[in-house]
């Protein structure tokens, strides 16, 4: 159609402004799509921080609190649970496996998790991924002073296999009390998971017990009360208390029954949660931020479109001559108006196409790092239906914006007629 050719040629004549406009729309569009993709993927990856675990059991508090400290290593347990309680439920006929978790110490701000070898077997994340080793081996339950590092801990602190390290009491980033009489040796480093596991140091429960064995009333022992690492190894390192436990069931059908049984158990006040449900609850808390991000990126797109509107409107005055010439060769006012609509459409369309190109370029660039550092997998997939709808809506908004200069040009060309003004 010749009107489209005139519109495109006219745009080409103003290519610098046109390109800037397209660039602005493209960037805003790419941002919108990227936010959309990241938030979809983040939600999916968040929901699969822990998988294949049927119940998490801890001292009675809130379900989100329990989830936060047992899985995300955020916050602290209000209370511990007795080892006997762990044994009681670990031997429950419905329970297939149970893994103890003991928290409370740290190393340079990274949490230390005391657990058993079974943790490496049963902890799963994402789409049923098991923990894998990048180097070395898992610790041995019988060797209390071995530590397996999460990937981020090893990378951030520059630790390699054989590294000796000292744990600090408590979980503050700067700790005043260190377990420096009982150093640990790095025996393994885990592959990246994109979950809190990356930020955790894993030791055996026995190690956790050993470093606290001579502590009394929450303070380290003095003088001859001290027990050395060698002496500790000779002692019974069976812990009396743990922080939480993960439970896998023989049949998922039994989940609710066992949850009720644990919650109502008279032996000790316990709380059992379904990790999936608690994760959903937690995400719904953070969902506001996610929505806010989306809305902000919508406004960025709006800004891009308003930039286009400004560019077209400012060009109108200097293009009165163009309009008058077109009128003199027979263009009717609605031709002039459609010319400007076509212009807005072309700019928005080019912006959207370039935006898609930017998005895929960005995905290509950050796919690897994002996967290894944050466990977010951004797929190189075609736009989803929802994304197409977004693109269509932006295009429609662009054309709608074009109606403003179109209306002005329509009025202007009616008033100007064939009258050419410089």
């Amino acid at each position: 159609m010749h009107l489209l050719r005139i519109a495109l040629s006219s745009l080409a004549n103003r290519r610098f402004t046109a390109l800037l406009t397209v660039f602005a729309i493209a960037l805003s569009m790419a941002l919108l799509l990227a936010v959309e993709r990241v938030r979809t993927e983040a939600r999916a990856s968040f929901a699969s921080t822990i998988s294949s675990t049927d119940l998490i059991v801890g001292a009675r508090s809130g379900s989100i609190n329990l989830l936060l400290y047992s899985v995300f290593r955020i916050g602290n347990a209000t209370n511990n649970i007795r080892w006997s309680s762990f044994e009681h439920f670990a031997q429950h006929p419905q329970v297939k496996w149970a893994v103890p978790l003991s928290l409370g110490d740290s190393h340079h701000g990274y949490r230390v998790l005391g657990t058993s070898e079974d943790y490496f077997t049963h902890y799963q994340y994402g789409r049923k991924n098991h923990l894998a080793l990048r180097e070395g081996r898992f610790f041995n339950n019988q060797a209390p002073f071995e530590v397996v590092l999460g990937a981020e801990v090893a990378d951030a602190l520059g630790y390699t296999l054989g590294q000796e390290l000292v744990l600090a009491h408590g979980v503050a980033a700067v700790s005043l009390v260190k377990h420096d009489d009982k150093p640990f040796t790095t025996v393994g480093i885990l592959a990246r998971t994109g979950t809190p596991v990356d930020r955790t140091l894993h030791i055996a429960l026995a190690g956790m017990q050993a470093i606290h064995i001579d502590w009394q009333h929450g303070a380290p022992a003095y003088g001859n009360q001290k027990i050395s690492a060698e002496q500790a190894l000779q002692m019974d390192l069976q812990p009396k208390e743990i922080t939480a436990m993960l439970i896998g069931l023989k049949s998922r059908m039994a989940t609710f029954a066992l949850q009720r049984e644990i919650n109502q158990w008279s032996g000790e006040p316990l709380l059992a949660i379904l990790p999936g449900v608690a994760l959903q609850e937690l995400w719904s808390l953070m969902g506001t931020a996610e929505k806010a991000l989306f809305i902000v990126s919508l406004f960025v797109v709006l800004t891009g479109l308003i930039g286009m509107l400004t560019a077209i409107l400012t060009s109108l005055n200097e293009r009165r001559r163009e309009m008058a010439i077109l009128r003199s060769v027979g263009a009717r006012p609605w031709h002039i108006a459609s010319l400007l609509i076509l212009e807005a459409f072309s700019l928005a369309f080019a912006g959207i196409l370039a935006g898609l190109a930017f998005l895929y370029l960005a995905i290509a660039l950050v796919q690897g790092p994002l996967q290894s550092h944050y466990g977010l997998y951004l797929a190189f997939s075609a736009p989803t239906l929802y994304e197409w709808q977004l693109l269509g809506a932006v295009l429609a908004a662009g054309v709608l914006m074009g109606a403003v200069p179109a209306w002005r040009a329509y009025r202007q060309s009616l008033a100007d007629g064939l009258n050419i003004r410089l």
Binding site: S9, S10, I325, L326, S328, V329, A331, L418, N419, I420
Partner: protein, 237 residues
């Protein structure tokens, strides 16, 4: 269309812009077929408004304005737009062309808005492109220039492209508004002779508006708008 229907016929035409004094008051004015008329109009004499009326962009408050026997006030706004491009070609002072289109596409513009001129151009030359090229060649614009952007030509060349555009598809009327004012004396006459011969070839009447009295002898007829327009005469007295 009868053989002797005047191309332009004005009778008791009165026009004023909203909330302004009467600008045009013309008792009678005609332009015969294939006539070359020089209309002298200094700035402020209402000549731009008159051209707007002849183009059917504005309508007079009273009186009659007929092109080829058709009363323009009987037509709707879009019918007037169509009538304008079907039957008349315009050449303006300067910057007549869309600088971002090629010379050829500038010439083709009227054919894209008028079926009639498209048909006439095709009937005579086979296709509108060939019609445009033939006109451009006759106006001394060699083929190498046809695909360059119009904005890159000299003013003289641009005016010849504008003439080709006004003439393509043989409209009955060519209206030229000071087309030579940006040209020097020599190219002015050369341009006029080209325009005359092309108008003659296309059997078009020419209404040539200018303030430059020295060109008047070249035309069949010469009229002073200030004398034609009773509104300005009243102001002067």
């Amino acid at each position: 269309m009868a053989r002797h229907t005047p191309i332009i016929e004005l009778r008791d035409l009165r026009f004023a812009w909203p909330k302004q004094a009467l600008l045009l008051d013309i008792a009678e004015f005609t332009l015969q077929p294939q006539q070359r008329l020089f209309l002298k109009g200094p700035s402020g004499s209402g000549k731009t408004t008159l051209l707007g009326l002849l183009g059917g962009v504005q309508l007079p408050q009273s009186g009659c304005i007929k092109l080829l026997g058709q009363d323009l006030s009987q037509l709707s706004a879009s019918a007037r737009d169509r009538f304008r491009v079907d039957h008349s070609g315009f050449i303006f002072q300067q910057f007549n062309l869309l600088p971002f289109l090629s010379v050829l596409h500038n010439v083709l513009l009227p054919c894209q808005f008028s079926k009639l001129r498209q048909q006439r151009a095709t009937a005579r030359h086979g296709s509108i492109e060939e019609a445009a090229q033939a006109l451009l060649l006759q106006l001394g614009l060699t083929e190498s220039l046809h695909h360059t952007l119009a904005g890159q030509l000299s003013i003289g060349q641009q005016q010849r492209v504008a003439a080709a555009r006004a003439l393509i598809g043989q409209p009955e009327l060519v209206i030229a508004d000071e087309p030579t004012s940006a040209l020097d004396a020599d190219s002015r006459e050369a341009f006029l002779h080209l325009l005359f011969s092309e108008c003659a070839a296309a059997k078009a009447s020419l209404l040539f508006v200018s303030h430059d009295q020295s060109l008047a002898p070249l035309f069949d007829r010469s009229i002073d708008l200030t004398e034609l327009n009773r509104a300005t005469r009243k102001q002067e007295y």
